[in-house]
Symmetry: C2
Subunit: 142 residues, 2 copies
Amino acid sequence: MFRLDPRLEKDTIVVGDFAVSRLLLAKDSRYPWCILVPKRRDITELYQLTAAEQAQVNLESAFLGQQLMALYRGDSLNVAALGNVVSQLHIHHVVRYKTDVTWPGPIWGVGESEPYEQETLIRHQAEISALMANNFGFVSAV
Amino acid sequence: MFRLDPRLEKDTIVVGDFAVSRLLLAKDSRYPWCILVPKRRDITELYQLTAAEQAQVNLESAFLGQQLMALYRGDSLNVAALGNVVSQLHIHHVVRYKTDVTWPGPIWGVGESEPYEQETLIRHQAEISALMANNFGFVSAV
C-alpha cells in the first residue's frame, strides 16, 4: 500500500489526487510550491514507474505547472525530482520570482521555511484544487 | 532555427541528438551530469512544448536517467528543469552520491566547477553516446 513519507506529510497539506499522483501544497509561504507524489510503493526514480504511469505523471506535472504559472504569474517554474533527503519519488513544482528570497539559486536547503497564515494556506489549497478539477482524474481533498 | 544558449554551449560538450532533444555532457568532473535541451525555439518551460514533443522528451529523459544510473551507479538521480539563470529550456540529469561534495544539497550555484582531464571527458562522452545508440532517434556527435 502507498504511504506518504512522514517528512512530506509534515511539511505539506494534501490538495487532492490525480489518477497516479497525490498533489501536495508545501507549508512554506516563501514560494507557491506544489509537490506531486506518485502513489506507488518503493519508487525512488521516475524511470522506475511503468511507461503508462510515467506518461500519466508527466501529463499531471505539465498541467499542474502550467496552471500554477497562470495563477501565480511567476518568472520561472522549477520542476525537480531530487530525492537526496526524502527518497520517496516526489516532484517539486515551484513558482519562482526574480524578487524571491533565493533567486536565482535553488530553493532546497536554503534558509528557513516561513509558515503561512492558516487562512492564506487554506485559500491557496482551495484555489489550486479548483484549477485542477476535472483534469487527469483529479479528486479534491478540500 | 534552434540555437543553443551560449552559456550552455560553453559549459558542456555535445554527445548527440535524440529526436527532440540535444544531449549535452557538463564539463564538471564533480558529478556525472547530462543536460537535455529540446531543439525548439523560444521555449522556456516543458508545458510549452506540444503534447507529442513533451511525450518524446519524457521518454528521452527517462531512458537517459536510467542509463546514467546504471553506468555510474549513483545513490540518487536529480532531474530538474530550473531555468532561473539560463532561460532556454534544459533538463539536468545529475547522478548523485552520498559521498559527493554537495550531498544532500542541490548542486546548482554551489562551489566551483572542476574541469575534467580532456581524456576522461572524451571517454565519458563516448561511453554515454554508446549507451544511447539506437534509442529514441539518437544520433551520436562523437
